[in-house]
Symmetry: C2
Subunit: 342 residues, 2 copies
DNA sequence: TGCGACAACTAAAGCGCTTTAAGAGAATGG
DNA sequence: CCATTCTCTTAAAGCGCTTTAGTTGTCGCA
């Protein structure tokens, strides 16, 4: 393992080796205008020769700008994983870097946020926060903050994919395939599930399927989906839906399992649509049609919002009204949906 | 979102408010001996009143110790997620904090490592690295480094769970249930798969099952497992194994899918053991017996190793020999294994 | 020749903290 | 009563960088 600290070269070393002052070296290394061509060359040469890497902490401290975005996420969530990747990409385009923090046994969401603030990040991104409104508002007061996947509050902007549009996409797709008996597997209590349920109703009405609206109890986990499937399969044949839209992929996958074991082919006997476009949905063996919340789009919108707040000065400060940024989800069509069988 | 920087209080503010010097305030806030009881009280009071939080960057810069462990991981891996959580816990016990970095589109493993080093972390943890040996050795030369899940090289220590023991546990368990025809579903080319295959052979021999050794081609994904299952189910009945040990959970789950759809009950018709004890294996609907690499154990060992190298001075520097830390995996028994049917 | 304008550079003052070395009292003791 | 030893404080020197204000030297032009 170890090695004694091989004494990293510092800026003065580079400057000395290049025969210039640290001021010049600093300017050159950051590509700032000023130094002459000759100076630039010798500094770059010296830096390369010494293997110089600036000390981030010192730079940040001196520059009073950290170019750091703090991201608070749940390390065990695949959806968050995708968001983090996308955020990093988007941050890079704005010259920002990410510092990550996650909720663990010894640190709750507030503690993790504090840790990020201690790094003096210029903006805070909170993924799917379970924080109380008041705590959120407090954070928003200390640092430009965006929550992803839920509505903002007070000074905190929310960036989210429209659930209404999501369900519209799902119902449209199924209706186009000839389905009429389209059931919706409900989620847990909460604003997200409410929005999706509402979106489902609205979309059904839109297609003149008011009479077919069919909301069955579900949940968030695979086993919830499994129970739902049992319930649906227990109905008399005529009353069974020909298609299912589930609150999320996990629920959809649980239902799918039971349905298949019941001897019903998918999509011939029943079409299924999930929500989230999670990695399991993409597995060749699962191949689930799903609504993607477009992590890349969410990430871009998030970073753009924060970046705007950095240079665009404080936004609508006094009036602590918040504005959400709502993007459109996408329908990812896979093998779990097909035309309704004759 | 925004808010104009509400000017965080600095140490001088606290000191001033408490009527002491910054030196005293600094000592008090870090619980160092020196200041009197009265001083302690007033500083703490002032800090609380102002809502003071030290600027991490400034502290780190001045203290020349960062107490930071850099962790390089794959944000899309559930196994890494568990490790990160466990690492954080373990680091906390040693007074260390984690700074995370992940491979993304714009940053490869080496780039991510550089980012971590720029944060001046005192130790580097690389989870399941795909880095070349030479790159690893280079990192190890710059900073105490531990790789998790693979053997070390040069100055880099490896921390891993014994594959030999893992397969021993699996075979023991099945043998105890009366199985004799235990097949092993092989993994992709590489040292890990080799170690597991060897462990399987050894364990079988140990149980006097030399004649039953049965290694079938597999792979790392669900679909690889599915193909394997098709191959096995294509055999004449007598030659079919009564139990399967798969290279990993994903492969096991793919096989399980095909087997169930083939009308064979699990575990009555066939027992299956996976490897990794990944979240999908734990799902109620999957309920897969699996070998856990004991993330908590790995994390503890990793942090302990690094911590030792911090104060214990450089370890065996000149001789660039490396030592691995090998821990024992655990068998997690679930519903996918049962007694061999009569 | 002399003066302003400009380009290229640098000395030095921080950033917010830690730490060292030294100072000021108070307490001890001969 | 003065020397000695503590205990408690603090001024000041950094940490490695950025940035401001200012210096130097060159050139053009009246």
């Amino acid at each position: 393992m170890g090695s004694p600290p091989p004494a990293r070269p510092r800026l003065v070393d580079v400057a000395q080796a290049a025969g210039v002052s640290t001021a010049t070296a600093s300017l050159v290394l950051r590509g700032r205008p000023g130094p002459s061509g000759a100076a630039r060359e010798s500094v770059h040469a010296a830096a390369a020769r010494l293997g110089y890497r600036p000390d981030r902490n010192a730079s940040l401290l001196a520059a009073r700008r950290t170019h750091l975005l703090g991201v608070l996420f749940d390390v065990s969530s695949p959806f968050h994983a995708e968001l983090v990747t996308a955020l990093d990409e988007a941050a890079g385009e704005h010259g920002l870097d990410l510092v990550l923090s996650t909720v663990t046994g010894r640190r709750d969401e507030a503690g993790a946020a504090d840790l990020l603030l201690d790094f003096r990040c210029e903006g805070l991104v909170i993924l799917g926060p379970t924080l109380k409104r008041s705590a959120l508002v407090d954070l928003g007061g200390r640092c430009p903050t965006v929550v992803v996947g839920r509505s903002g509050t007070g000074p905190v902007t929310g960036v989210l994919a429209s659930d209404r549009v999501g369900l519209e996409l799902a119902v449209d797709h199924l209706a186009r395939l000839g389905h009429r008996q389209i059931a919706y597997v409900d989620g847990p209590p909460g604003s997200i599930a409410t929005a999706r349920r509402r979106g489902y109703r609205q979309a059904m009405r839109h297609h003149g399927l008011d009479g077919e609206i069919d909301i069955v109890a579900g949940g968030v986990t695979e086993s919830a989906g499994a129970s739902t499937a049992h319930a649906v399969l227990g109905r008399p044949r005529r009353q069974r839906p020909t298609a299912l839209i589930a609150y999320n992929d996990r629920c959809a996958i649980g239902a799918r399992d039971v349905i298949m074991r019941h001897g019903i082919e998918i999509p011939e006997g029943l079409s299924i649509i999930g929500y989230d476009d999670s990695p399991p949905a993409r597995l060749g063996t699962v191949d689930l049609t799903s609504i993607s919340q477009d992590p890349v789009g969410l990430a871009r919108a998030t970073v753009a919002t924060l970046a705007r707040s950095f240079d665009g000065e404080a936004v609508a400060q006094g009036s602590s009204r918040h504005t959400d940024v709502v993007i459109s989800p996408r329908l990812v069509i896979r093998g779990s949906t097909g035309p309704v069988s004759a």
